[in-house]
């Protein structure tokens, strides 16, 4: 194709409508940042839902978060942080043209992604087994019989079996941290009737917490999967030596995406696991 740069050496990666590599790189980077903004706003809806329900019904969140395993969540946070580190180092390696190092670092990052999803699977499975699910599927009594969810569609009246973390005991220690719930919309808990203090009994609508938990971590998990696919793709390309000091845009952009996935988890972990 004819263009005004015909005589100059034309790098293979430079598309015809850009003047030079620098313009192309800065355009790609701006595009990526805008895309990350859309991702944040996508999650923002869920964060708003979280904020609304937590401020209306703090007792649900305090009660239910004891069912989450802080230890596993903490390990997962470390795994993601480490993978973000190897990713950032990988971008550096790409810029310096250190191909072998880049391949190793991308592989480590990918491994971190697998580790995260593996631990997440263990957590999900435990909740599934104990019926700690969303909406009408929330049925903490039916440890083995998930298929019978319909029989339990009505509100669960009795307290669930205590979770392994010993939630009721810990609740006993600080009964006053539970403020009375605000008056919510129709169908929610009336003020003062949230959690009978000192008994560790279950507030109404605990499934709301698990609904939000599964939505937030599920959507995040999908993003982890997408990030891993992208990392896998640039890993294959970097084995072929596609990136170097002159062209490392995809590594840079995938890195940004991976950091965002990490960052969202940094917010999810305390909001869901570390409630006081």
């Amino acid at each position: 194709m004819t263009d005004s740069h015909g005589s100059e050496g034309h790098p293979a990666h430079l598309q015809h409508h850009f003047d030079n590599s620098r313009q192309q790189f800065s355009a790609s980077k701006l595009g990526m940042w805008l895309f990350l903004a859309t991702e944040i706003l996508l999650f923002a809806g869920l964060f708003v839902a979280y904020a609304v329900y937590r401020s209306n019904h703090p007792e649900i969140f305090i009660y239910a978060h004891y069912f989450l395993d802080t230890k596993l969540g903490g390990i997962n946070t470390m795994v993601l942080l480490l993978s973000s580190f190897t990713m950032a180092w990988g971008v550096r390696a790409a810029q310096l043209g250190q191909r072998k190092l880049l391949v190793a670092l991308l592989s480590l990052t990918l491994l971190g992604g697998f580790g995260f999803l593996g631990i997440k699977y263990v957590e999900y499975e435990a909740k599934w087994k104990h019926g700690l699910l969303w909406g009408t599927n929330y049925n903490p009594e039916s440890h083995d019989d998930h298929t019978g969810a319909d029989e339990h569609a009505e509100e669960v009246e009795e307290a669930p079996t205590a979770p392994e973390t010993g939630a009721p005991d810990r609740l006993n220690l600080e009964p006053t941290v539970v403020p009375p719930s605000a008056t919510g919309p129709a169908g929610t808990v009336p003020p003062g009737e949230g959690l009978p203090h000192g008994q560790g009994a279950e507030p109404d609508n605990v499934h709301i917490f698990f609904g939000i938990y599964f939505l937030m971590t599920g959507l995040h998990g999908i993003h982890v999967l997408v990030g891993m696919s992208l990392i896998f793709w640039i890993l294959l390309k970097s084995i072929g030596g596609a990136y170097g000091p002159k062209y490392f845009t995809p590594v840079d952009l995938v890195g940004l995406y991976w950091h965002l996935v990490d960052l969202i988890w940094i917010f999810l972990f305390p909001l869901l696991y570390l409630i006081h």
């Binding site: 015809h16 409508h17 923002a44 909406g135 499934h207 609904g211 959507l219």
Partner: protein, 555 residues
């Protein structure tokens, strides 16, 4: 793609041939045309629905369909017109074609994303239309819970379609922001851009920042229906009004996605056809940004009657009033541009004048609705329907038609029949007012919107409104007729038929594959002194000679 565009007659339309060269094109001009054909097909479909609605409402009760069918028809009219036609309308169809040309660029920043955006549109549209064939939705285009989570119609499917359409819209917006930031030519500072680009830029900001919220809202709605998460279900401790907040957090900014590019088009038309430099350039530019910012702060005015606190209602009411300020600034500047101008009543200008008239009525009636006390009376009546159509049809669609006529010669290389164009625009203007002004009257007298069976006293007004819609249909068939005719038999368009000075008129009609045969520099887009009318080509040529496609006359 690799075919060199060297021969003088080679342009983007004939540079390559075959269906695949169109369906897989990365050329922004062809993608613009693909979008144009797609959205006009949607407009036809949505328009047919509108005709069915108006025909049904000729008499109270059963006229041509049952009440359930009526619910489906008005839902589809709204959903198709909004998600398939008006949101992508000006940005994706006209914008895609014009934006890089106005920048003197060869393409948008991300041509592949651009193509992907169109394919996502096609996928989303296909799914949405499939949902009509399976079991058309009857919730209204707003998909309010709890009805949308309990109705047996295919809500999940159409919501999936709209979700995908949202992605398409985001990609277009993202592409435009980056293109405007990074691909402006030498000499084109931000304040030397044509105002359409400011309009498209502010639109793109809303597309990028608001559409993801629609995405998550629709995802939650689908999850509610498929998995029963209970987040919008009061019986499970959820909050149905939360859906309204989420929905309007996108959908109110979305009406500015619809109107801002229209305002950009009008800024171009008013100045060109008044033969006078635009008045108050910076005010018009910044008011676009101001509208984009305000658009995120007014969503609560859709919930004045949904049980919000009075304080919240007052805040949203005040913020809503403040949107009228940047809108009015634009109107005043357009009027000042026309003042002492040499106004030429070509077809695009007739649409621009229609816009001024109708948009002003639409905007001012918006103030009635922003006023808390009157809104209680007018909420969910035909007054709202009329207000919305004055802004969206009288505003956006009229501006779209103006823009379509204005850039038609550039897109197709053909001139349409000017006389028929003028007649059709006047018929449309009359038909529009007959249809929708009547609805203001009905609404203020208390006729609720979306009613199938109305009281006898509204019969004559409803019939008048329906007659107006038939008049509009006549105008649209005329427009379709002469535009299609021009493709086959139209006079060859000169490079610059209107004497405009933005960069797209500095290249032949239709433009070559690479848009320009030289490197472009920014010019003052509203300085018309360099062009004079040439009888022999019925178009404008540079004062210094040539046909305007060789000399960029940079300033």
């Amino acid at each position: 793609m690799s075919t060199a565009a060297t021969t003088p007659d080679s342009n983007y339309l004939n540079v390559t041939k075959g269906a695949l060269s169109w369906l897989l094109t990365l050329d922004h001009k062809r993608i613009g045309i693909l979008y144009l054909v797609s959205i006009l097909s949607s407009f036809f479909l949505g328009g047919m629905m509108a005709m069915l609605i108006r025909t049904e409402l000729l008499t109270p009760g059963d006229t041509i369909m049952t009440a359930d069918q009526y619910n489906q028809v008005f839902t589809l009219h709204g959903a198709i017109m909004i998600f398939l036609f008006i949101i992508p309308g000006i940005p994706a169809a006209l914008g895609n074609f014009v934006l890089p040309l106005m920048l003197g660029a060869k393409d948008v920043a991300f041509p592949r994303l651009n193509l992907m955006s169109w394919w996502l549109w096609i996928t989303g549209a296909f799914i949405a239309v499939a949902s009509i064939l399976i079991n058309a939705v009857d919730t209204g285009w707003t998909f309010y819970t709890p009805y949308s989570t309990t109705t047996g119609t295919s809500v999940t499917l159409i919501v999936t379609g709209v979700f995908i359409l949202g992605f398409s819209s985001i990609l277009t917006g993202l592409n435009f922001i980056v293109t405007i930031h990074k691909l402006r030519p030498k000499g084109m500072t931000w304040f030397k851009m044509p105002l359409l680009l400011w309009g498209l830029y502010s639109t793109a900001i809303i597309q990028v920042l608001a559409t993801p919220v629609l995405g998550i809202t629709l995802l939650l709605l689908a999850m509610e229906r498929v998995m029963g998460i209970g987040i919008f279900d009061a019986a499970l401790g959820g909050d149905p009004v939360l859906f309204q907040h989420f929905f309007w957090f996108y959908s109110h900014p979305a009406v500015y996605i619809m109107i801002l590019p229209a305002m950009g088009v009008i800024s171009e038309l008013i100045s060109v056809f008044s033969r006078k430099h635009i008045f108050g350039y910076k005010f018009i530019a910044f008011s676009s940004i101001a509208i984009a910012v305000f658009s995120f702060l007014v969503w609560g005015h859709h919930m004045f009657t949904s049980g919000q606190s009075e304080l919240v209602n007052m805040i949203f009411s005040a913020l809503t009033f403040s949107v009228s300020i940047p809108s009015a600034i634009k109107v005043f500047n357009w009027l000042a541009t026309m003042y002492k101008g040499r106004i030429q009543l070509d077809t695009p200008m007739l649409y621009a004048l229609s816009f001024l008239f109708l948009f002003t009525i639409g905007g001012l009636t918006g103030l009635f609705l922003a006023t808390l006390a009157t809104d209680i009376h007018l909420h969910d009546t035909y007054f709202i329907v009329a207000h919305f159509h004055y802004v969206m049809f009288g505003g956006t669609v009229i501006a779209f038609l103006g823009g379509l006529h204005y850039w038609w010669p550039k897109m197709t290389g053909k001139m349409y029949n000017e006389k028929l164009g003028r007649i059709a625009s006047v018929i449309l203007f009359v038909g529009f007012n007959v249809t929708f002004f009547t609805q203001f009257v009905m609404g203020s007298r208390g006729m609720p919107r979306r009613y199938f069976h109305y009281q006898e006293q509204f019969t004559s007004l409803n019939q008048l409104s329906s007659v107006g819609s038939y008049i509009m249909a006549v105008a649209f068939f005329m427009i379709a007729g002469y535009l299609l005719h021009s493709l086959a038999k139209g006079r060859k368009a000169p490079a610059n038929p209107w004497g405009a000075n933005s960069l797209e008129w500095h290249t032949p009609s239709p433009p070559p594959f690479d848009n320009f045969d030289r490197e472009m520099r920014g010019v003052d887009p509203y300085d018309y002194t360099g062009w004079k009318y040439d009888e022999s080509i019925e178009g404008y040529v540079p004062v210094g000679g040539g046909d305007g496609t060789r000399d960029s006359r940079a300033v």
